[in-house]
């Protein structure tokens, strides 16, 4: 259960590497027992942000608070945080058991709640065995880490971090090297572990599906800034800007103009929508999910176009449909998902219901990189 207490709080965190600023004024709080994902394309600053929380990098300015206390300058080995690294970083000179016991061996008997060295050894064995059971790797104690598969190494890396009973577990793209099926399994297992242990997880990934599956909260990052923070459903259904819409799931993003409340014009056509509070004639980004475009008869749609390609995607067909605005062959390509297939060359109509049209303010900063495919080729 997520508690309301703010375990970690970042205030105005900036980070520069030489002349490049990789983090701009990041504000973020993380609650106890929360599973939060930092999601973004490579180079967006998500790993740097994670490394700042772990203590491997110092922020150039701003504060990192842990339970309200400033953590700046406190080295990683004095933080109640453990990390699962991208390439596992297992110690190859130690076997599986000693890898997991590594952190516990460094503690005094008192820190483990026992008196003598002998009791410490027994306590470590008890905890390591419990972890091996949790990650389903019982019986591998004496194995060399080199002899393990990628998935098994991943489990040991997770066990090695969790055995120290950290307040927070940082995970840096931990499933990146695994094949799809194993990755899906591990996603569910990680989520289950997190709920069972009640530990805060901060998870870094560029895989939006992974983020949607596992997280309580997602922070979408781009260009060193947090673009949007919210729960998975909120971020998917109500993306705050064109970048988020494009990054989370697939989208058609169109330039439009807000004519008045609940009425938007794009592709030379007026559409009813459900967005209010924009300026009259304000230029906006219009985002429409491919599954929200309905294919209707060729002359009854709001827009009409011709099917240019069809790909079978398993559950649905993905069709690229070029509309007819701006003359033949000059129109914009729409990505449409549908369970019924229209052959290439068919002329179809497209309809979008008002609540599936998402209107967004144009991004104001250059860093936010408005991703638009306008199709207007006036150059």
């Amino acid at each position: 259960m997520i508690q309301d207490m703010r375990l970690i709080e970042l205030k105005g965190v900036c980070k520069n590497f030489g002349d490049t600023q990789v983090l701009h004024d990041v504000d973020l709080y993380i609650r106890k027992c929360e599973f939060i994902t930092l999601l973004g394309p490579s180079g967006c600053g998500k790993t740097t942000l994670l490394r700042i929380i772990g203590g491997f990098e110092m922020p150039s300015s701003g504060e990192v608070l842990f339970e309200g206390k400033d953590m700046t300058g406190i080295p990683p080995y004095k933080r109640r945080i453990n990390t699962v690294f991208q390439k596992y970083a297992l110690f190859n000179h130690l076997n599986v058991y000693d890898n997991i016991a590594f952190g516990l061996n460094l503690k005094t008997p008192e820190q483990l709640g026992v008196q003598t060295k002998k009791e410490k050894k027994e306590e470590i064995a008890r905890r390591v065995n419990r972890m091996l059971k949790l990650v389903k790797m019982e019986g591998y104690e004496k194995r060399s880490t080199n002899a393990l598969s990628g998935g098994q190494q991943q489990r040991i890396a997770i066990a090695r971090a969790l055995v120290n009973e950290p307040e927070v577990l940082l995970l840096d793209e931990p499933l990146g090297a695994l094949d799809l099926k194993l990755r899906k399994e591990m996603q569910l297992e990680l989520k289950a572990m997190q709920q069972q242990l009640g530990i805060t997880f901060i998870y870094v990934t560029h895989d939006q599906e992974e983020a949607l599956t596992m997280s309580d909260t997602i922070a979408v990052m781009n260009g060193g800034r947090i673009q949007q923070i919210g729960d998975p459903k909120g971020i998917y259904d109500e993306p705050k800007n064109a970048f988020v819409a494009d990054f989370i799931g697939e989208s058609n993003i169109v330039d439009g103009v807000m004519l008045q409340d609940d009425l938007v014009k794009f592709r030379d056509t007026e559409f009813q929508c459900v967005d209010e509070g924009f300026d009259t004639n304000e230029p906006v980004d219009v985002v429409i999910r491919p599954e929200d475009i309905m294919i209707v008869g060729e002359d009854v749609g709001m827009l009409s176009g011709t099917v240019e390609s069809v790909i079978f995607k398993g559950v649905h067909y993905e069709m690229m449909i070029r509309d007819e605005i701006g003359g033949e062959g000059q129109g914009m390509l729409w990505k449409v998902h549908s369970t019924t297939m229209q052959p290439v060359g068919t002329r179809v109509g497209m309809t979008i219901v008002p609540y599936n049209i998402h209107i967004m303010h144009k991004a104001k900063t250059a860093d936010a990189e408005p991703v638009s495919e306008t199709g207007d080729k006036e150059a």
Binding site: G55, P76, Y77, N82, T83, A89, F91, H93, F102
Partner: protein, 261 residues
């Protein structure tokens, strides 16, 4: 076609045999003569271990053996520590500065021994350090260290950079992380470097000659004996040195072979 193939195979074989013969016949001759009963190089009068026995009875040679081993062991130990720490330090530096240092460390390996020897001698004389076994050890440390450095550096470069951070993450202080994670991880490189350094120390003549006074190592004994006219004991001594160094180098090669598997 078949004949051509056979001819080229024969040609390759002959060429290889010639190269090997050119390289090893002198050594084989020397090894053979070390077992010759006659003092003369011209005739073979029968097989004997006498020269080897004489070798081990010679106080001078035994003293030189002790000097050689003492110098090699101390120089290897010190240069292994310096070289390993140096490599770790350079690895952690920003690349510009590290490149300068790496190139500077290459230089002593390519400088002719005679230059290294003379300049070290001059330095000791200039600093008023009397030449002794200890100056010889210092000189050996100087030329051994780059071998350790360049055996350890590749291991550091291959190492997952997150290993050090993982150690810190699990509660190691930086010093503990060095001892518990970094050094074990690069230990194959350290051992290879130490073996190379030991080999270099064992057979060094030129630098030792310039940087020591009365203490002579085995190479120096062979050199001074040769000036008085070579005795078969020197063949025996050279044979033993050859075998010892051959064994060490085989060990080094085997180790790097195993690691690359």
């Amino acid at each position: 076609m078949v004949r051509n193939k056979r001819a080229s195979k024969a040609l390759k074989g002959t060429y290889l045999a010639l190269v090997l013969a050119f390289l090893y016949i002198p050594i084989v001759v020397m090894i053979a003569l070390s077992f010759n009963k006659s003092v003369s190089r011209a005739e073979w009068t029968g097989f004997t271990f006498d020269w080897y026995a004489k070798l081990f009875q010679s106080k001078q040679i035994m003293a030189a053996l002790r000097v050689t081993l003492e110098v090699a062991v101390v120089a290897t130990a010190v240069s292994t520590v310096i070289g390993t720490l140096g490599a770790i330090g350079m690895h952690a530096m920003n690349t510009g500065m590290a490149n300068v240092l790496v190139n500077l460390s290459y230089l002593p390996m390519t400088t002719p021994d005679i230059v290294t020897g003379v300049s070290l001698m001059l330095m000791f004389v200039f600093a008023k350090v009397p030449l002794s076994k200890w100056t010889m050890i210092m000189a050996h440390i100087a030329f051994d260290t780059p071998y350790v450095l360049f055996s350890v550096m590749p291991k550091l470069r291959q190492m997952n950079p997150n290993l050090y951070e993982a150690a810190l993450d699990l509660g190691c202080s930086p010093m503990k992380a060095l001892g518990k994670v970094i050094v074990p991880e690069i230990s194959p490189g350290i051992v290879t470097g130490a073996l190379l350094a030991f080999t270099m120390s064992l057979d060094d003549f030129v630098i030792s000659y310039f940087t020591s006074n009365t203490d002579q190592n085995l190479a120096m004994i062979v050199y001074s004996a040769a000036r008085r006219g070579v005795e078969p004991t020197m063949y025996a001594l050279s044979t033993l040195m050859f075998v010892a160094i051959m064994a060490l180098l085989l060990l080094v090669n085997r180790r790097s072979g195993l690691e690359n598997m």
